[in-house]
Amino acid sequence: MAGDREVWGKMPSGDAESFDVFYRETAPRLQAFLRQIVGSREAAEDIAHETYIRLWTRPHAFDPQRGTLRAYLFGIARKRAADWWRTQTSTESLDEDAAGPCNTEIDSAVSDAFRRLPEQQRTLLWLREVEGQSYAELSQILEIPIGTVRSRLFAAREALRAVWQQKR
């Protein structure tokens, strides 16, 4: 797997091959994350595609001193997903099912409880638990102080735990 800096360094020169490798390595996880956030496979793919296009066309927007390329990638995706939500809520009201993850074969109590959390908490938990982002990276992605990352993670876990225990 190519390093962040290596991939990023080749982008301005239009090295499509190395960027495509980066895309194929990271896109499945990014799409899984987005599916959890927007609740639609199609929207998740669209947002992921927009995210990669954004990175590809504006590589200098990434500052390697502020974090990893992957954290930056998820940060763009999160913003795009938030934009997507804004357009959805302004044009139509989504029912609860539409807000949850779609087309997943998992039907555990945890997945059901997770689905009931607010988008902000789902984002935070997913990035921490599944993507393994550090507090510093979460701070970068979510644009919040590290102390806030800590307190929000606690709140999100408690919210998930409360719903999960009710359903057990």
Partner: protein, 357 residues
């Protein structure tokens, strides 16, 4: 410490964070806290199991075309040509890339596009620049500035990335240089990282400028791209001691020998000057104060007529130049910029200082 007080530290502990000794000791002996720790672990594992089951093996193939410059070739040329030689720049006042040349304004108006956001950028108290960005026309989606702020040279560039209802997404790069010898160039900003911000006109935004601190931005929506955008004075009438050369075009006889598209320079003190480099013709210094070796130029509204080496020149600009009826023009026909600058016209400003010539 109670369980409630320790609860938040359980979450941090689970994440591998170091927690206060009192909290750690409490968790060690508290069954409730350990149960919470176990449930976090169970929940985390279940989330990862969900993710693993939901992961697709392959993603749709995509084609990545080489990124095209967002700027038109016209703008790019203008951008590349904006270089500011460091004369004796103790208080270099302002250099503005004005994305509103006369020609372009006509174009924008012909399109009838509105949706322009006018930013007022304040890098330091008393120093404000205006930046007009069109959400309709990418050609007018960027602005830049180089100037003296707090005895250093601040360069910044603002790009309009997108619009969402009443707010815009801005890309911002900046660079701070000490005053010294050499050349300031906006091209140096290309290596500076870009940060993105959402901004809603009517609100106040703080941009992070490394080395300088925060730059305040306010703004408003406008229904047109203004004809004149830059610093301070937007009146047609120049201020006292103002020498304003906007979007200059230099004629030798009746032949146009250079056109600094999109570039302007303004000085507000009599002991400062605007400089203009035209490939093949050298460097021209314009000032309101007499300078040894300079010739007098006659000012009429937006034109300066002068002679050099027995030849007639006329500088035509996009706005009235000065209140004075005359300026002093010194030409350095043999001026040699650095090789990579020699092929482009550029404009700049600084203090008048013969010792540096």
């Amino acid at each position: 410490m109670t369980c409630n007080e320790a609860a938040q530290f359980v979450s941090a502990l689970y994440d591998g964070e170091v927690v206060p000794a009192g909290a750690a000791e409490h968790v060690r002996t508290c069954e409730g806290c350990q149960a919470r720790l176990r449930s976090y672990s169970e929940l985390g594992m279940e989330l990862r199991r969900m993710a693993s089951a939901d992961l697709v093996a392959e993603v749709a193939p995509r084609t990545w075309n080489k990124p095209q410059p967002a700027l038109s070739s016209w703008w790019h040329r203008g951008w590349q040509s904006m270089r500011i030689p460091r004369l004796a720049l103790v208080t270099l006042l302002t250099i503005i890339l004005v994305l509103g040349s006369a020609l372009a304004v006509v174009t924008v108006r012909a399109h009838g596009h509105g949706d322009v956001v006018m930013l007022k950028v304040t890098p330091a108290p008393g120093v404000s620049n205006l930046c007009a960005l069109s959400t309709q026309d990418k050609k007018w989606g960027q602005c830049a500035f180089i100037g003296g702020v707090n005895h250093q040279i601040l360069s910044y560039q603002i790009n309009l990335i997108g619009k969402d209802k009443d707010r815009v997404e801005l890309g911002f790069r900046s660079r701070l240089d000490p005053v010294g010898g050499g050349t300031y160039t906006l091209a140096a900003l290309e290596s500076a990282p870009e940060r993105q911000y959402w901004f809603e006109p009517g609100e106040t935004l703080q941009l992070d400028a490394p080395g300088l601190g925060q730059i305040e931005v306010t703004g408003e929506w406008m229904d047109h791209m203004p004809a004149v955008v830059g610093t301070g004075n937007h009146d047609l009438d120049p201020g006292a001691n103002e020498l304003r050369i906007m979007l200059p075009m230099l004629l030798h006889g009746k032949q146009v020998i250079g056109d600094v598209e999109g570039g302007s320079a303004t000085v507000l003190k009599a002991d400062q000057e605007v400089i203009l480099y035209m490939p093949g013709y050298g460097l021209f210094h314009f000032s309101l104060s007499p300078v040894a070796g300079a010739v007098r130029g006659d000012v009429r509204f937006n034109k300066i007529s002068f002679e050099s080496g027995g030849e007639s020149y006329v500088l035509v600009t996009g706005a009235p130049i000065t209140r004075s009826e005359q300026v002093w023009v010194l030409r350095e026909p043999n001026y040699k910029p650095s090789p990579d600058e020699a092929s482009s016209a550029f404009i700049g400003s600084g203090e008048t200082n013969q010792a540096t010539r």
